[in-house]
Amino acid sequence: MRSEPVVQVRALVKRYGPKTAVDGLDLVAGAGVTAVLGPNGAGKTTTVETCEGYRRPDSGTVRVLGLDPVRDSAALRPRIGVMLQSGGVYSGARADEMLRHVARLHAHPLDVAALIERLGLGSCGRTSYRRLSGGQQQRLALALAVVGRPELVFLDEPTAGLDPQARRATWDLVRDLRADGVSVILTTHHMDEAEQLADDVAIIDGGRVVAQGTPEELCKGGAENTLRFTGRPGLDVGSLLKALPADCTAAELTPGSYRVVGKVDPQLLATVTSWCAQHGVMPDRISVERHTLEDVFLELTGKELRS
């Protein structure tokens, strides 16, 4: 895979009237899948639409595949695929008709019939776009983004409102795109989507990138992990603490429910279980909680991701 960035955003500012949607945003995305994660109103769509050439930056620079999306639009458009959050299709057109049409605008499009089957759009038959279900419209929008065999695909909330099965089908397609060397920029406010798909995650809040890295890197930094177990109520937590490394904390949250917070590694787990063995405690429901992107987001922004 290429190492030069596919998207390079520097000090991007975009205002709508008095409201600043994007406020000095820096973002570098390489090959592979980059997730732009943030709550509604964080500036995700504005950032992506600036990369797609729909919006002119108020200040800052944007380069996509090395090109200026506004100035070099004619050269850039055939090379990128765009999935809009909604709409984009003639209300009287059938799914296959619109897909075939967009395929015709490209020199080497994908096989339309195979793509229709792959995304389960065959059942749309002769139904016009306005009568398709939300999920079908969403999958058609995805198909329209990839049919021209682009180098880079922008997916704006690709699984919003999809049922779990359709969601997995979309994820599978994103993975296949990645495997075949297509770069993907996707916006989402589902942290599991970012964790599942992304090589790289940029967390956006208030129009800025507040953290960027691989999901592992982001989850490693910051807060510690948690180990929970249940046992009989009233265990001697002080004795447990003495057995643990100095930087750990332990507490009985509710009677019989215990929590250890610290650097949870195999050694710590062994220490806890052997302490339990010494005290004749069977640690039921022992669990280790990994630090999630959701926790990272909460720490960075003080906001719930899905607010």
């Binding site: 797609e52 050439g53 729909y54 004619a74 458009r77 055939p78 090379r79 990128i80 765009v82 809009l84 909604s86 709409g87 984009g88 299709v89 003639y90 209300s91 009287g92 057109a93 008709e97 049409h101 967009v102 015709r104 605008l105 490209h106 020199a107 080497h108 994908l110 195979a114 089957e117 792959r118 329209l144 990839v146 021209g148 065999r149 682009p150 180098e151 089908a169 599978d172 296949d176 795109l177 495997a179 075949d180 060397g181 297509v182």
Partner: protein
Amino acid sequence: MTTASGTYTPRPGAAPLPRMIAAQAALETKMLLRNGEQLLLTVVIPTLLLVLFSSVDVVDTGKGEAVDFLTPGILALAVMSTAFTGQAIATGFERRYGVLKRLAASPLPRWGLMTAKTVSVLVTEVLQVILLAVIAFALGWSPHGNPAAVLLLLVLGTAAFSGLGLLMAGTLKAEATLAAANLVFLLLLVGGGVIVPLEKFGGAGQHVLGLLPISALSNGLRDVLQHGAGMPWGDLGILAVWAVLGLAAAGRFFRWE
């Protein structure tokens, strides 16, 4: 379900421009012909008006056969229904539903999209003219004049109405465009010399109404087709001014989303 690896390997590229424009024009025409309300406007209403007012003596169409007076007016109405009303409504909703936005991200350039829309309008007009001419001949129509003058009037009329239709579609909300385009259609149908001679509106009214693009088109067509006049320069001039103003304003104020 999985796909053989390499299926999605990038191979970007725009199709050749003529192919893109042809595909776009074909799709636009198909969408128009599939739309019931559009067909009502572009086919049913002009046909009904032509048949009704040619066979029943409701309006005083002056000397000569009613069909010879009516056909040029109905041809002007057909041009207006497609280039102005139909195009304004369709484009307004394409803008509202993000179709224009979606296509703006495709390899088809904006001017290519506009060219395709024009081709689609012209194709529809050719179908309308053929249909209406066949009906008019069946009703005893006997046209005169220079076909080149007729063609020039139709082309300039199309340009004038397209500019005004796109101006409306690109600046108003889709619902407002729908309402306004239909209202304008109705007003110009009555006050634009289509079926009611402009003389009925009195001296001053006649002069003001005569400056409307629909009046210029219907009068110009009538001068040529009914009276066998040469180039109707006055009416061509009026249409040219509307075309320049309308297209320039549309180019300046059209918002794509």
